[in-house]
């Protein structure tokens, strides 16, 4: 607390000093002298308490000490429009001097393809993704839906959070690409509410449930076999120790496979971090290095383990490669993907 207050008070003095010789000095600074005594803001596109917020606040605690000059890293909530607001902030408003980076929804990088949103994620100054994720379809142990075949043939009541949300997208894929007979009950306010509905038997199952949050939030579900893992969607090769078939193994149609791949590719950038396009290259390089160092920091990993958060980092090159792959798909694949996920 005291250290934080000292930081607070040190800033005005620095400001006065900085105003004096601002323009001439800024260009010649090394990252260490630039960041010393400064703040880096981590803009979080969701309100406090969710998964993106949890990851970002944890990262913020350890990121600073891996940066030259050891800046204070301050998490800032900027919720809005399913984190689109923070993306647009990074895209066109945020300062490009290396004092701001942001985290936002993984599927936002598909927005320009599907909805024509006016930004290009390929131009962002990517730091990377702190983890990859696996998305699952599960059903409750007492439900009549126990297997993939049940899900295809019987009328399963699956929960949703409204068009465009992860559970609805996954369920729509099952319906539109695989012809499932499931019944989507949508409109739940959030994951918590759906999970409670599942537990009280209102729903047969949920799709789009993230493995990491399942493990951290409901270890008893897994331990006591309260749920059936029906199918998983992962951008990896499937060797992740999760006992469920890959969704890619359920079709041979090359076009469907390509569309599936496009949508699922975002699982590789499950907790993405990016600075504004055109961020100062020297400082960006320092931030990228610090990002990967933080992800390997034993103290950071220990805290993440306590919170049940997976850490399987992807560096900026990995993210950029995925984006190039996604954006090079032919229009018919993009159209099929768009139709499959129901948008």
């Amino acid at each position: 607390m005291l250290k934080h207050l000292a930081h607070c008070l040190a800033r005005p003095l620095l400001l006065v000093a900085a105003v004096a010789g601002f323009t001439s000095a800024a260009a010649a600074q090394t990252p260490a002298s630039f960041y010393a005594g400064r703040n880096i803001n981590v803009v979080i596109g969701y309100s406090v308490g969710g998964g993106y917020d949890l990851y970002a606040r944890l990262l913020a605690r350890f990121f600073g000490k891996h940066m030259p000059g050891e800046p204070t890293v301050v998490p800032q909530s900027m919720p809005g429009a399913g984190s689109l607001k923070s993306v647009l902030y990074i895209n066109s408003v945020a300062p490009k001097d290396g004092t701001v980076f942001a985290t936002f929804g993984r599927s936002l990088v598909l927005e320009p393809l599907f909805t024509g949103a006016k930004f290009d994620p390929r131009t962002f100054s990517w730091l990377g993704s702190i983890t990859q994720d696996v998305s699952l379809c599960v059903t409750w142990k007492d439900s009549k839906i126990q297997t993939w075949d049940d899900l295809m043939t019987k009328q399963a009541r699956m929960g949703g959070q409204g068009a465009g949300s992860d559970p609805d997208i996954f369920a729509s894929i099952l319906k539109n690409l695989f012809g499932s007979n499931l019944h989507l009950v949508t409109g739940y306010p959030g994951n918590n509410d759906m999970e409670l509905a599942l537990e009280r038997g209102e729903l047969d199952g949920l799709c789009g449930l993230s493995w990491s949050s399942l493990r951290s939030r409901h270890p008893d579900w897994l331990r006591d076999h309260k749920i059936n893992l029906i199918v998983k969607a992962s951008a990896g090769d499937g060797r992740d120790g999760i006992d469920a078939p890959m969704i890619m193994s359920k079709t041979d149609d090359p076009k469907k496979l390509a569309a599936l791949k496009l949508i699922i590719a975002t699982q590789a950038l499950a907790r993405p971090y990016a600075a504004p396009p055109g961020t100062n290259p020297v400082r960006l390089a320092a931030m990228r290095e610090a990002f990967m160092q933080t992800a390997a920091d034993p103290e950071f990993l220990a805290e993440a383990a306590k919170l049940g958060l997976d850490v399987t980092p992807v560096n900026h090159e990995g993210v950029e490669a995925r984006l190039v792959e996604i954006y090079s798909q032919p229009p018919d694949v993009i159209a099929l993907a768009k139709q499959a996920q129901g948008s």
Binding site: C8, A81, G164, R200
Partner: protein, 685 residues
């Protein structure tokens, strides 16, 4: 079980932990006093400091802080008519008139005692419910949640006072406002006008502050008198004890409202913003001599405060038993649980029972601490009501804007607080009840979600579920009782306006109602292109608004009226239209002539517009500094020295608190676009 409770108490009573809890309580009280800030901000701030504490100390700090924001949020509500958190809005209704009548100390005594009783009741309910927590929560499904929403909405009937048509119109408009944003079924963007701000629905804090707080400030600025308006404040300790005795005398009411608060608090989706209204409505409906409610009746304060504090215990139920947080602050608390190695869920009721009990003890003890601190300090607080109006109004207005901006850190928040401030003031002047609007706004979203879900899952068979049936019958009783008693009155020949002439007339009220109708019609027109699922509820709400609005309009134009001065002449509807809205009383005793009133009101709105324009140019903090300086000197004539001192002092405090401590992302200003260097240097533009 008793053993676990005893163990937990021993752990909590260790001096070091008590000291930590005390620190948490102090911070919580401070956050509760500042409008717009509350437990969420405090938790986000404190959680990083708990990483190296043991779990019991961490929860003592966090819960000690979070549970008492609802004790102190009451202070600005009574003193300035400005609710400290959204949960204190109903307190304003009777608490503020009490302060105006010089009874602030009595209101404090009653409010703190009721808070204390409510807080302990909530904790006790949590403790007693432990064995049955899980089955009870699992029993409440989507259909039950829907019935709770309907019950909440039925309170509109009570909260509209003697203006049922206006109340129903306001509630329908509130429902329509709640439909703004991305629709929960199809994702259709409804009434968002291509703004990102409206995607996620109107945030509650700016709207509540606009509807309830800004009008009080405007009226203070018009009257040019501080809160107590020259009345001698009852500062003596004895009058505070009067308040304590009031609460003890009304123990039955305290119990009923605490039970309501704790039960509704446990239901996800029924937020703190409506629980106090529901309890208030319950008090109005069940207590004897309800006509004094809204005019400084201490029972109104007791009802609102006991329920507002009891809900904390209720909020913890789903968090502890299922790991399902009942709100944002509980979601943050959940992450603290995880951080300390506890996974909320079944284990908390068996293996970690001592932790659960330590939480319950923390709730109890922190409420006791909070109430005692406030009781001791209330003389000090009550003196704040004596601050010169020329300094008070600019300072509180600045705090309100900052608090509103904390809602979602958007430009939209600033427009919303100003816009809803204008709406709230107009409604207050014209004698329209404001609580129904908020009730509709808060419950509308949840209502729509669970209406569809419940329909999909159960259809009409939902009505056969016992809890649904009982709650809906309760709602029907709440709605029909006023109708029946009104019918009885009319049959007995005691109509609402027995004397007075009938005749066509046009006045401000007719104009306002007509404007509301036009807005509704335009809004309904826009629904044409939406898919069916996105359209049903907005159409129903809009239809209701049209129907009730037309009824209001006809009544305004043709109804019998008592031969009292026309509202246009006085701008004071209090006498002409007796309302439950505290509104009515605010200007009651004023001697400011009508022309001057109107002039000052217009000037105030002009100042608000100036503030927005300045903020657009140079950023929010500098804009507020300029606004405070100009208001103090030019509007209130307090002199440049005072203006500079206030502006500089408050701005520094704001900067330390909001920029340094809370890391607020400030709104983009033109100066920052022009000089990006300045933006990255100060982070203020």
């Amino acid at each position: 079980m008793l053993e676990a409770a005893g163990q937990a108490l021993a752990l909590i009573l260790e001096p070091a932990r008590l000291a930590i809890m005390f620190a948490g309580v102090l911070l919580g009280l401070a956050l509760g006093v500042i409008p717009g800030l509350g437990g969420i901000v405090g938790l986000a701030l404190l959680i990083p400091f708990t990483y190296h504490m043991d779990a019991y100390s961490a929860f003592a700090l966090l819960l000690g802080m979070a549970s008492v924001t609802t004790v102190s949020d009451f202070i600005p509500a009574v003193l300035f008519g400005v609710p400290g958190t959204v949960g204190a809005a109903a307190t304003v209704l009777d608490g503020y008139p009490m302060a105006q009548q010089g009874q602030a100390a009595r209101a404090f005594g009653a409010g703190y005692t009721a808070s204390l009783a409510g807080g302990i009741f909530g904790a006790l309910m949590l403790a007693l419910a432990i064995p049955v927590l899980r089955p009870v929560v699992l029993y409440l499904g989507s259909a039950e949640l829907l019935s709770f929403c309907i019950f909440g909405l039925s309170m509109v009937a009570v909260l509209s006072g003697r203006a049922p048509l206006r109340g129903l119109t306001a509630a329908s408009l509130g429902l329509m406002l709640s439909m703004i944003g991305s629709d929960p079924q199809t994702g259709t963007l409804r009434w968002t006008f291509d703004t990102l701000y409206l995607w996620d629905h109107l945030p509650l804090v700016p709207v509540t502050l606009g509807i309830f707080a800004v009008p009080e400030l405007i009226d203070m600025a018009i009257r040019r008198q501080g809160v107590a308006g020259g009345a001698i404040l009852g500062l003596k300790a004895s009058s505070q004890w009067d308040g304590v005795r009031d609460t003890i005398r009304n123990w039955r009411l305290v119990l009923r409202c605490s039970a309501l608060g704790a039960l509704l608090g446990a239901v996800p989706g029924i937020g703190s913003a409506v629980i106090d209204w529901i309890a208030y409505g319950h008090a109005v409906q069940t207590e004897k001599n309800p006509e004094t409610f809204g005019k400084g009746d201490v029972r109104g304060v007791i009802a609102a405060e006991s329920s507002n504090n009891a809900k904390e215990g209720g909020h913890l139920v789903p968090t502890i038993a299922f790991g399902v947080p009942a709100g944002a602050s509980m979601a943050l608390l959940l992450s603290a649980f995880l951080m300390h190695g506890f996974t909320p869920g079944p284990d908390m009721l068996t293996k970690h029972l001592d932790v659960t009990y330590s939480i319950i003890w923390t709730l109890t003890l922190s409420h006791i601490m909070g109430a005692l601190i406030c009781l001791c300090a209330s003389g000090l607080f009550a003196r704040m009501a004596l601050i010169r109006v020329g300094l008070l109004v600019p300072a509180v207005l600045a705090i309100i804007f900052l608090g509103a901006f904390d809602g979602s850190h958007s430009w939209g928040d600033l427009y919303a607080v100003a816009g809803f401030g204008a709406l709230g003031w107009t409604m207050k002047q014209l004698g329209w009840p404001r609580p129904p609007l908020i009730l509709g706004l808060v419950l509308g979203g949840t209502f729509e979600r669970y209406l569809f879900i419940s329909q999909e899952l159960f259809g009409w068979s939902a009505l056969a579920r016992p809890v649904v049936a009982i709650v809906l019958l309760g709602a029907a009783w709440v709605m029909l009782k006023p109708v029946m008693s009104a019918t009885r009155r009319i049959l007995a020949g005691k109509g609402p306006h027995p004397a007075g002439q009938r005749g066509f007339q046009l006045n401000w009220n007719v104009g306002f109602t007509a404007a509301a109708l036009v807005f509704t019609a335009i809004a309904l027109w826009q629904t044409v292109e939406w898919p069916a699922h996105a359209r049903i509820v907005p159409l129903a709400a809009g239809g209701a608004a049209l129907l009730f609005g037309a009824g209001t309009l006809l009544t305004e134009m043709f109804a019998r009226r008592p031969s009292k001065p026309d509202p246009v002449e006085t701008l004071i509807p209090a006498v002409a239209h007796p309302q439950m809205d505290s509104a009515a009383l605010a200007l009651g005793g004023s001697t400011v002539e009508a022309r001057l009133q109107r002039l000052r009101a217009w000037r105030f709105f002009l100042w608000l517009a100036t503030l927005l324009a300045t903020t657009l140019l140079i950023g929010l903090l500098p804009g507020l500094a300029v606004m405070m300086l100009l208001l103090v000197t030019l509007e209130f004539g307090e002199g440049w020295r005072r203006g500079l001192a206030l502006s500089a002092g408050m701005s520094l405090a704001f900067w330390l608190l909001f920029d340094r401590l809370f890391a607020t992302p400030w709104p983009d200003a033109l100066a920052g676009d022009l000089w990006p260097g300045l933006r990255s240097l100060t982070h203020l533009l």
